[in-house]
């Protein structure tokens, strides 16, 4: 057991670190996610791509370099270490690109993939809808083929990250309501600048707007932009979702709040409290800190698996479960330690780190799969517990929709 790089990994790390050090000024500083300027972010991604550090695990013919997941994990670590902002087109790289690689035509691949990696085009993923959250296959957005073979799209998507900046999106639609709901779906690449596409930012309870609603009003898509067969959209979407999990990479160590920063805050504030309150604070903080250590070292186990060429299974989601609870408790403690400032949305010095964190966390227990859905997944796929009986398997989408489902 060790925490050391293999010789190959060490060499790669040195190379990456060298590049990042050399180009730090151009690459900029990691700030909050909302801070970044899209144009600057695209230039940054181009710089990294041209140097060979974007999409390393992608096949060479797709614009990547056929590298290992561990190489990607090391890039992630080194970018974090150097304080370089993350890639803007992360969803494109993690989800949209792989779907195009597996299900796209040669023409699509040549037109889209390299530009995606370089950040020349930004991509988004258009799956979720107002009436289909956890139950993705219940989606309603309709695609109807006309006599020329073009598809006409009408409907609404939601929770679409980056839609307002995107050039393209992968779009899951219903093409046949008269079969079981998983079987009547079809996926397309959609031009986000096409007539009939409207993007509206969705304001969250924290005041931020990390997501969008996207409306499709008779948007026309050529059949050549289809991904996978007609009616085979569910299987195509599984590719996307599977790729999402792999994007995790060296993840699992973050709980939405830097534990070190949190420790500084607690250390700062605790000294002003009576001894008895300090003991209560230490008890809460100690428990949350252990949770964060547990996540960090569980993340190292995941990284070890990746380093050995294995791919993480659904157990990788376990970290999110442990993490959201710990993060919630930490945010609660952090705000509590603000004393009188805790009832306001910002401290008297104008900073609002902890209040904002408090308002962001309820969403974190929901976005990317509610904790309840994650528990089902781990229970069924990792522990092998039986699934619940499904009432919607033997019915057509149309029947279910009529029943309010």
């Amino acid at each position: 057991m060790d925490f050391d790089d293999t010789p190959d990994e060490a060499a790669w790390r040195a190379e990456v670190r060298g590049f990042l050090t050399e180009h730090k000024a151009e690459l900029g500083d990691r700030g909050t996610r909302l801070d970044f300027d899209p144009e600057v972010a695209k230039q940054r991604q181009a710089l990294l791509y041209d140097a060979g550090y974007v999409g390393v695990t992608w096949p060479v013919e797709a614009g990547g370099r056929g590298g290992t997941p561990m190489q990607q994990a090391i890039i992630d670590q080194e970018m974090a270490r150097a304080g370089v902002p993350g890639l803007i087109n992360l969803i494109g790289i993690g989800m949209c690109g792989p779907t195009v690689i597996y299900h796209g035509s040669e023409d699509q691949k040549s037109r889209y993939l390299k530009r995606l990696l370089r950040g020349d085009d930004i991509w988004c993923q258009l799956f979720s809808e107002p009436a289909s959250g956890s139950d993705l296959a219940a989606l309603r957005t309709k695609a109807v083929q006309d006599e020329q073979g073009d598809w006409h799209i009408s409907g609404q998507k939601v929770w679409t990250t980056l839609a307002h900046l995107s050039d393209y999106g992968i779009l899951l639609t219903r093409t046949d309501p008269d079969v079981a709901k998983h079987r009547g779906l079809t996926m397309f690449v959609v031009d986000m600048k096409a007539p009939g596409v409207t993007v509206r930012p969705l304001k969250q309870m924290s005041g931020g707007a990390d997501f969008n609603e996207v409306f499709f009003d008779d948007v026309v898509i050529k059949d050549s932009e289809r991904l996978g067969d007609v009616g085979d959209g569910w299987r195509t979407a599984l590719t996307t979702l599977m790729s999402e999990r792999l994007t995790l990479g060296g993840g699992g160590t973050e709980i939405g709040v830097s534990i070190e920063r949190m420790a500084e805050h607690v250390a700062d504030r605790i000294v002003g409290l009576p001894d008895e309150r300090q003991a209560l604070v230490r008890q809460d903080f100690g428990r949350a800190y252990v949770a964060s250590l547990g996540m960090r070292y569980t993340g190292y186990r995941l990284l070890t698996a990746i380093s050995q060429g294995n791919l993480p299974g659904p157990e990788a989601s376990a970290g999110k479960l442990a993490g959201t609870t710990a993060a919630r408790d930490l945010a609660d403690l952090a705000v509590r330690l603000l004393g009188d400032d805790g009832v306001y949305a910002a401290q008297s010095d104008g900073t609002d780190t902890w209040q904002t964190l408090q308002a962001v966390l309820p969403g974190m227990a929901i976005a990317g799969g509610t904790n309840e859905v994650l528990r089902n997944i781990i229970g069924e796929r990792v522990l092998g517990l039986p699934a619940e009986p499904r009432a919607d398997k033997d019915k057509t989408y149309r029947e279910l929709a009529a029943a309010g489902a």
Binding site: S134, A138, M205, Y344, A345, D352, P362, E372, D392, A405
Partner: protein
């Protein structure tokens, strides 16, 4: 034994619901966040005019001459619609000004717009022109410089206040100050009861309608049990609020324990209900346009008012342990 509301109190609740629900709502609370110029609802003037604000002011001073329990019944309805200003402020003022019929009359007719200053952020400071506070052992009243800040829950009218010139309302009245604070905790818990109960109702209604995988999500145990736990906490809170209000009216020796218990349970039950409300809604639950976060904001602020939940549970334990074996 009749540990329940009587029919007059039920009528009072209905009337309060009618009046408060006519103007206040989560939508108004959201509006206050969107636009700092918007007015809290029903607002101090309308609340005073309705008579609900002065329920516990004696009839001789133009008030309702009612009990703390009566006020708690109204406060629950106020909590359901996130109304402001808080009845906590009026409840405390009525106790603090006891015997000062001139000022009580001014409280009841609205000419005195008062808030209570405990040393930290002041509840309902926004719109207040006078501040009651404790100076040494004296209850004093005076003007104050109000500095508003970016609110979490804008319906609470919280602001920093620097007290100006004061005059003594009651000398050597630290006990009365304490009593007023305990009554305030009970009324705060009553508002929390209303907010939490409403949050659970909204959650239930949604999970009956919303379907996933071919059935209403309320049929899934994870959702159902979370709502049940929230409901059970709310019903425990209801019992403690009633007890606290009854103690304020009839059993002052039980009030410190009852008030601390209600305050602590309110903080926990409301936070649990609001977080459950968001969670069972999934994505829509953490959007700005949905009401869930307005209940949540109330929860996150109220838990710190009149002492936090940690202090309340500590106080409960101290009282219980001091009484043990007697």
């Amino acid at each position: 034994m009749h540990f329940d509301l009587d029919s007059e109190q039920r009528d009072l609740a209905a009337a309060a619901a009618d009046f408060l629900g006519g103007s206040a709502s989560p939508g108004v609370a959201r509006g206050l966040l969107d636009d700092a110029g918007a007015a809290i609802a029903p607002g101090r003037v309308e609340l005073v005019k309705s008579g609900f604000a002065a329920i516990t002011v004696p009839e001789s001073a133009g008030g309702g001459g009612g009990s703390v329990l009566d006020l708690a019944v109204v406060a629950e309805q106020a909590g359901r619609v996130l109304a402001g200003p808080s009845l906590v402020t009026f409840a405390r003022a009525a106790v603090l000004l006891d015997g000062d019929d001139t000022r009580l009359a001014a409280l009841a007719d609205g000419s005195l717009a008062v808030a209570i200053h405990d040393g930290g952020p002041v509840l309902d400071a926004v719109g207040a022109d006078s501040f009651l506070t404790l100076a040494g052992d004296d209850i004093v009243i005076g003007s104050g410089t109000v500095t508003t800040r970016d609110p979490i829950d804008a319906t609470r009218g919280l602001a920093d206040v620097e007290i100006g010139d004061t005059e003594v309302v009651a000398a050597g009245a630290a006990d009365r100050w304490r009593t007023a604070r305990l009554v305030g905790q009970v009324v705060l818990a009553a508002e929390g009861l209303g907010t939490a109960a409403r949050a659970v109702e909204v959650g239930i209604a949604y999970t009956k309608e919303r379907h996933a995988f071919g059935r209403p999500i309320g049929s899934y145990q994870a959702v159902k049990h979370a709502l049940v736990d929230a409901y059970v906490a709310v019903e425990q809170l209801r019992s403690l609020v009633w007890w606290g209000a009854w103690a304020a009216d009839h059993a002052p020796d039980e009030l410190p324990l009852a008030a601390a218990a209600a305050k602590g349970q309110a903080a926990v039950a409301l936070e649990g209900a609001a977080e459950t409300l968001i969670q069972v809604h999934g994505g829509i639950g953490f959007t700005w346009e949905h009401d869930a976060h307005l209940f949540w904001r109330r929860a996150k602020v109220d838990r710190f008012l009149l002492g936090d939940d940690v202090a309340a549970f500590d106080e409960v334990a101290r009282i219980a342990l001091a009484g043990a074996g007697r």
